[in-house]
């Protein structure tokens, strides 16, 4: 059987450990934390974004300041209405497939 004095001491010690109110302590700690580094997912997004911008700029100047766009429009404007319709449908289908593929891949990642 426990000494009653032991029980009393345990109870007293527990009672004498009151909850210390935060009173801005957490905020002070958070202000002193070192700046966080970007997570891998965010780093990857930044790398892809920067690489895309650089590629576009390089392609623009490497192609004679985008003359290929002008030429493409000129060729498209010379197409027959049926050919133009087929090109638009092909572009639409391609974009839909790409969008679906991206969405399904993203869902798969989240589930893992």
């Amino acid at each position: 059987m426990n000494d009653p004095l032991d029980d009393l001491l345990d109870a007293r010690l527990r009672d004498e450990a009151p909850y210390i109110d935060d009173a801005g302590f957490t905020t002070r700690v958070m202000k002193q934390l070192p700046r966080r580094r970007l997570s891998w997912n965010k780093q990857r997004a930044v790398v892809i974004f920067v690489a895309t911008i650089v590629s576009v700029v390089v392609a623009y100047f490497a192609s004679g300041e985008g003359m290929f766009v002008h030429d493409a429009f000129a060729r498209i404007s010379g197409l027959q209405p049926l050919q133009l319709f087929l090109v638009i449908v092909a572009c639409g289908i391609t974009m839909t497939i790409a969008g679906l593929w991206a969405a399904l891949t993203r869902r798969h990642e989240t589930m893992i």
Partner: protein, 177 residues
């Protein structure tokens, strides 16, 4: 549903989520600050400075937490190490200083109330007994967990708790008679 410590830790580790770490600080600040207040003998400002250092160090080394013990036990260990570093710098671990402080905190002369007598008696215990009693009797750690926090053998923790408790029980017994 409230997130567990493990959930919050996962967010800190995977996403670098500082808000999740903030929630961990909010949850554990009270016992960590309480422990440090006992260790530095109620110098509240110093205890809070050391507690801040504890959480900042925990954040910097969060990847070294392997989940073998509770997160709170890991925090107590960091807090105790920071206290020891601080004490070493200020030579507070020298025996004569301990004795002087012990005399200063004589429970018979400070306050007539049992509550204060007990707290003063706790503050007057030698550092190793005070720390062991605070961890095991106030913060609810097992002897094994306290041994890991203090990095000393299990038997030494048990002895320190027993000796500390005997001294505190004497105060209680005096009040009972």
């Amino acid at each position: 549903m409230e997130l567990t410590d493990a959930d919050l830790l996962a967010r800190v580790l995977v996403d670098g989520d500082q808000h999740a770490f903030g929630e961990l600080v909010r949850r554990h600040q009270s016992p960590v600050r309480g422990l440090l207040r006992q260790l530095v003998r109620a110098d509240v400002e110093l205890a809070d400075d050391l507690a801040q250092e504890t959480f900042i160090r925990a954040y910097k080394h969060i990847r070294s937490f392997r989940g073998e013990s509770k997160f709170s036990t890991w925090l107590y260990r960091i807090a105790y190490n920071i206290f020891r570093e601080h004490a070493r710098k200020r030579k507070e671990l020298v025996g004569i200083d301990e004795e002087q402080l012990q005399a200063k905190a004589d429970p018979q002369t400070v306050d007539p109330g049992l509550r204060h007598d007990l707290m003063n008696a706790l503050a007057g215990l030698p550092l190793h007994e005070r720390t062991a009693v605070t961890l095991c009797c106030q913060n609810g750690l097992s002897h094994d967990e306290a041994a890991r926090v203090l990095d000393i053998p299990l038997g030494t923790v048990k002895t320190n708790v027993l000796r500390g408790r005997e001294k505190l029980k004497k105060i209680l017994a005096d009040w009972a008679t």
